[in-house]
Amino acid sequence: MSLLAVENLAIRFGGVRAVDGVSFAVEPGQVYTIIGPNGAGKTTVFNLISRLFDSDNGTVTFDGRDITRERPHRIVRHGIARTFQNLELFDHATVLQNLLLGRHRHRTVKLLDEILFLPRVTRSEVAHREKAEEVIEFLELEAHRDSPVASLPYGVRKVVELGRALCAEPKLLLLDEPASGLNPEETENLAFWIDDMRSDLGLTILMVEHDLTLVNEVSEQVLVMNQGQALAEGSPAEVQKDPAVIAAYLGTDE
């Protein structure tokens, strides 16, 4: 059974059909990529899955449960974590605090316990810290652990955001343009991490990406979107040969 199944998803903003009847399915353990020209509705699909917007039509099923109308903050509890295209980090907090916020869904202690800082709060904080440290080690963020995010260069911030999503220990990771703004070396690191996340951490990854080198390297299945609709689906090599895809990206001769 698919981990994530999107059926006939649609939303319109005023007269614009941003997403117009898109269906696809992501199998467990897959790296699934959505590509398409600007304004194709790729990020909107992400925002519909993570419930920032209410869809007008269609269903989203995750792990056998219908999450089409789930409350936004509960999405991560089902096991879906995401990153953002233009970074949505907590700028005035440290890297460690950002990562610990990734642990928020695993919070077990009550407000009153926290105000009194009972021993069980210390225990849970240390447990969360250990998990966060695993992510720090995985993404090689040791040097930046205590730096405020606002003082870090863009490439590192991207990694911090990835780490924050990993701290939530999701089953499915939504990466919105993970390579945008990264230099070739950083992009190569990212490719390795994506491979490791799938093989070592057992994650399924759904990403939106423009960098076709990265897509060819890590992705098995690609969905091409244009003007809110699915244009083609298949392996990276297949879709890049598809005449409809070439027409959407480069235009036609007429």
């Binding site: 903050h73 907590f90 202690v109 926290e114 800082f117 003082s151």
Partner: protein, 358 residues
């Protein structure tokens, strides 16, 4: 230079991560404990005011400095706390019961205010809270059966464990103890998950939500805790001024509270207390200054407000992190001596965040 050698994660969770922090705070507490032995009555009274303002500033700091929800109406919560406390005392409740109850009442009203505030941020929220405080002032003025209206209300005498709250020394120690409890409780909150959720709320609501922070709940918690703490400050304030009038809790008081947290440095508890101390010095300094200025300036109405505003503007322009930010820089200078670099505190430019989510 100082190096941190930490071997266990618990060390990062301590209230005082370094021995010097413990020494410094311990020394401060000792000074505060010894103050009544050395200070004359008048100064002790003024210092008590500052302790009470300290409690209120911590309350406002929690909301504005950490959760990023700016309130221009916190005087209203002080007012609600003060009146609730006085009315409960009048009804025969003991101090030890009536003060926490006053906090709870203010907290509950804060939660109610938090509901419309869920959809507002920034300037709109500031205006809404301002309107709220004006409404509260009027309700207190008109509800004569309960508050005796504009005629004013005598705060009943009270005692705690045999100590008379009318006695300035007993009251000073009571206020100091409550301030310490509030500071420790808030610091505890801030080093655990809920505190981080508040910071998340301030920096990016979308991301907070995507990580599982329940926005309505988190905002309600921020509002009610903040209002509750400020309400307790109001209860203490009532004893200190002895006579309650709706006008005691007007916009000027709200602005003073906001100024304390901004001048002190948004986003730090120490900042709140530094801001209170700063205002505690500035206020009498202005009074003294008046005598030395030519009478056309010194006697001008609104000189105090003008100077308050000026100080606020200067801080926002030149030291947005407030006194606490300045303190961090001084500390970093000595910590890293002789390798201090100015650039440590210069932040790279904020990258564009997607506006469409807000």
């Amino acid at each position: 230079m100082r190096f941190d050698f930490k071997t266990r994660y618990e060390q990062d969770l301590r209230l005082f991560p370094h021995r010097t922090d413990l020494l410094g705070n311990g020394a401060l507490l000792l000074c505060m404990l010894a103050a009544p032995l050395v200070l004359p009555q008048y100064f002790l009274g003024e210092l008590t005011f500052l302790l009470v303002y300290g409690v209120a500033a911590i309350g406002l700091m929690l909301l504005s400095g950490f959760a990023g929800l700016i309130s221009l109406g916190h005087a209203a919560f002080m007012g609600i706390g003060a009146y609730a406390h006085a009315i409960l005392l009048e009804a025969g409740l003991p101090f030890a019961l009536s003060l926490p109850l006053a906090g709870l009442i203010a907290g509950a009203i804060g939660m109610l205010l938090g509901i419309p505030a869920l959809r507002m941020t920034g300037l709109y929220l500031a205006i809404a809270t301002l309107a709220f405080s004006i409404i509260v002032e009027h309700v207190i003025g008109k509800w004569e059966g309960l508050t005796q209206g504009h005629g004013g209300m005598q705060v009943p005498e009270a005692s705690l464990a045999g100590f008379d709250m009318g006695d300035i020394e007993s009251f000073y120690y009571t206020a100091l103890a409550i301030l310490c409890l509030v500071v420790v409780g808030t610091a505890n909150l801030l080093r655990s998950a809920t505190g981080r959720a508040l910071i998340a709320l301030r920096d990016s609501e979308v991301a907070a939500q995507a990580l599982g922070v329940n926005l309505p709940y988190a905002k309600a918690v921020a509002f009610s805790l903040s209002a509750g703490i400020t309400g307790i400050a109001g209860g203490l304030f009532a004893h200190r001024i002895g006579w309650l009038e709706p006008g005691s809790f007007n916009v000027v008081l709200s602005l003073q509270l906001l100024m304390m947290v901004v001048v002190g440095g948004l986003g730090s508890l120490k900042g709140a207390l530094l801001g209170v101390a700063f205002l505690g010095v500035l206020d009498p300094a202005i009074a003294i200054l008046k005598d030395y200025l030519p009478s056309a300036i010194g006697g001008a109405a609104g000189l105090q407000l003008f100077l308050f505003g000026l100080v606020l503007v200067l801080f926002v322009l030149f030291e947005p992190l407030g006194l606490y930010g300045r303190w961090l820089k001084i500390k970093a200078y000595f910590d890293h001596f002789p390798m201090y670099r100015r650039a440590t505190f210069q932040r790279t430019k904020t990258y564009m965040q997607s506006e469409r989510y807000r």
